[in-house]
Chain length 334, copies 2
C-alpha cells in the first residue's frame, strides 16, 4: 500500500489565512483503476489564485472542498501506471499538488514538452504562470512592439515573465514592485521600476515621470490604488488585461473601486479579465515555440523562491501575500 | 448679408451648469467661400456628451472654445451653396448646431439618406444616438440573440433604441429608468423595467428579481451605483459596452468607483468604452439597412421631447440632467 500525505482546510478563512488553517493528513491510496497513474511529486506550485479557492464561493474556479486534499500545480514522476501511453518513470505536470503522492486519471496529467530546461520550469516560466503572462499580453491585450507597457507585481512569477516578454518584443516597459530589492532586479533588466506600495496619487506621479508618453497596455496583477493610478495615465484605446488583483484577495469586506473608472469611457479603454485555461487551448505550441527558446538560451531569466519539504507548503503559500518571494514560489519535495 | 444667432459660453462650469452660463450672440456671416454651404437649421440636437465639452479639458472630444459658437448635431436646409454637388434646398445633417444659420464646408455636411421617416429622425433614431445604440450592441458588445441584456437609461435617446434593437433580436431585455412614467413606457414595450435612482444594494435586488439568469451584456449609460449593481449580476464572459456615465458628468470631484471592480477578473468580463464616430465608419450602410426599415414601418418606436425656438436650446440641454426628457431631446426652429 502507498500512503499519500496531503494538506486540507476545514473552514473557509476571512482575511489573510493563518498557518494553523492548514492540516497535514495521511491516507492509504486505493488500488489504481484502469487508466490511472500514481505520481510521486517532486515540485509543488503555490499561487495567489489559490486564495480565491479558499473563499467558499465560486469565483472563476470552484472553491476547494473542505477536508479534502487541496489542489494545485505539481510536477512529479510516475511510479505506477495503468494508463496506455504513460509509463513508470515519465515526468508529468498535473493539478494534484499540496501532497506528496498523487493518484489521477491519465487524462489529467501532461508529459513534459521536449525543451532543455530544469523540470520545475514547467511549473513556472514554461508552465501556468508563463502561459498566463503570454496569453495576457499576446491574446488579451494584443500587444504591439510600439506599445508602452505597465506591468504590476513585475517581479512576481507572472509579472517578471510578462515584463521580459514585452521587452523582448521591443516595447518600453515599466514595472511595479513592492520592495527596493525587486525594483533593483527590474532596473538591472532594463525595466523602469516604480513602487506600488504608495497612495494612488504617489503612484500617478511616479508613472508620469516613468512614462510621460502614457501607457498603452496595462498588465494588471495588483488592483487597488495601482489600478486607479494606471487608469489616470492610460492612453486612448489602451488595453488592460486583468490577470489578478492580489491587493484584494484577503480583504474581508470590499474597499472602494477606482474613482476614475469613467476613464474607461473617456479614453475608450478595453479592460478584460482572463484566466489562462480559457485562452491557451490551441495556442500551447505557439507558446512553447515562442517562449521555450528564450528560456532555454537565457534571454529570459526566471527566478525561483523555494521552500523545502511538504510540511512547508502552507508557509510558501502565505509568503506570497507578504511579497517575500522573488519570481516563482515553489516547494521542493524529497 | 445674413446674420447667424448662436450660443456661447464664456467660462467652463463646475457641477451642473446654470442657465445664465449660455449667452445668445449675433454675427454677420462672411461671404461663402468656394466649397462652402449656408444652412438654415430646422432642428437642433442636444445630448449629454456636450457636458464633457464644457469641461475645458480634452476628454474624448475637444472642449468647446470659449466665446465661440457651441457645436452639436443639427438638421437644416441649404439656402446658399458654392459646393459642386450640394444644392440650395437640399436637407443635410451636420455639427453646426446651437445656432440658427450655419456656414460650413460642404465636406462637413451629410445629405439625408433616402428613408421614409420625418427628417428629425436623422438626429435621433437614425442619427448619432441611433448609431450609438447599434454600434455599442452590435460591434462593441457583439450581441447574440441568446443574451440577456441590461440597458441603463433605457428610455433615453440612445437607451430606448438599444432596448428595442435588443428585443427585435430576440434577447431578454431589462431596462432601467429614473421615473415611473418611463418605466411604464418600457414595460408597455415588453422590457422589464427597474429604477436606477436607488442604492447599489437596492438595484442589485431589483436586478436579481428581474434577471435571475444573470446579465450577459450591459449597455452602460449611467455609471455610479448602477454600474456596481450590474457588475454584481453579470454572468461569466459578460460584455459591458460603456457608452456614457451621465451620473458623473456634473460631479465637481470624483466619487468612489465600484467596490466590486474585481468582478472583471473573477467573471472574465470585457468592459469597453466607445464613441460612435470611431466605430461607425464603413458600417453606415449596414446600420441604415438594418435599422431604417424597422423605424420606417414602426417596429421600432422612437420618442422625441421638443423645445421650440433657438432661445430654448440651453433649457433643452439642461433638462437632460433632470431626466425630464422622453427619448430624443430636440429643439425645433422656425
Amino acid at each position: 500500500m502507498t500512503q499519500s500525505r496531503y494538506f486540507t482546510i476545514s473552514e473557509y478563512p476571512e482575511g489573510l489565512p493563518e498557518r494553523s488553517l492548514f492540516q497535514l493528513e495521511t491516507q492509504e491510496l486505493p488500488e489504481l483503476k484502469e487508466g490511472e497513474v500514481r505520481i510521486r511529486n517532486q515540485w509543488l506550485s503555490v499561487d495567489p489564485y489559490m486564495r480565491g479557492r479558499m473563499s467558499g464561493v465560486k469565483t472563476y474556479v470552484e472553491p476547494f472542498e473542505l477536508n479534502k486534499p487541496l489542489q494545485g500545480g505539481a510536477l512529479g514522476k510516475i511510479i505506477e501506471s495503468r494508463h496506455q501511453t504513460l509509463k513508470e518513470g515519465d515526468r508529468v505536470v498535473h493539478m494534484g499538488g499540496w501532497r506528496d503522492v498523487a493518484q489521477l486519471s491519465g487524462d489529467q496529467v501532461q508529459p513534459l514538452p521536449d525543451i532543455d530546461v530544469p523540470p520545475q520550469a514547467f511549473l513556472g516560466v514554461l508552465g501556468m504562470p508563463g502561459m498566463t503572462a503570454w496569453v495576457g499580453l499576446t491574446l488579451v491585450a494584443e500587444l504591439k512592439s510600439s506599445d508602452t507597457v505597465l506591468i504590476s507585481a513585475a517581479s512576481g512569477a507572472v509579472g517578471s515573465l510578462a515584463a521580459q516578454l514585452a521587452s523582448q518584443k521591443g516595447c518600453t516597459v515599466i514595472g511595479s514592485a513592492g520592495s527596493q530589492e525587486k525594483r533593483e532586479w527590474l532596473e538591472a533588466h532594463g525595466i523602469k521600476a516604480i513602487d506600488h506600495h504608495q497612495s494612488a496619487d504617489e503612484i500617478k506621479k511616479a508613472l508620469k515621470e516613468a512614462a510621460p508618453q502614457g501607457i498603452d497596455v496595462y498588465y494588471e496583477n495588483v488592483g487597488g490604488p495601482m489600478l486607479e493610478a494606471a487608469l489616470d495615465v492610460m492612453n486612448d484605446f489602451g488595453r488592460i488585461a486583468v490577470c489578478g488583483m492580489i491587493s484584494r484577495y484577503n480583504e474581508a469586506a470590499p474597499s472602494a473601486g477606482p474613482a476614475n473608472i469613467s476613464a474607461v469611457l473617456t479614453k475608450r479603454l478595453r479592460m478584460q479579465g482572463f484566466i489562462v485555461y480559457e485562452w491557451i487551448k490551441g495556442h500551447e505550441q505557439a507558446f512553447y515555440q515562442q517562449v521555450g527558446p528564450l528560456v532555454a538560451d537565457g534571454r529570459i531569466e526566471y527566478r525561483e523562491t523555494m521552500e523545502e519539504g511538504l510540511e512547508r507548503t502552507p508557509d510558501a503559500f502565505l509568503a506570497l501575500f507578504e511579497g517575500s518571494n522573488q519570481g516563482k514560489m515553489l516547494v521542493k519535495l524529497d
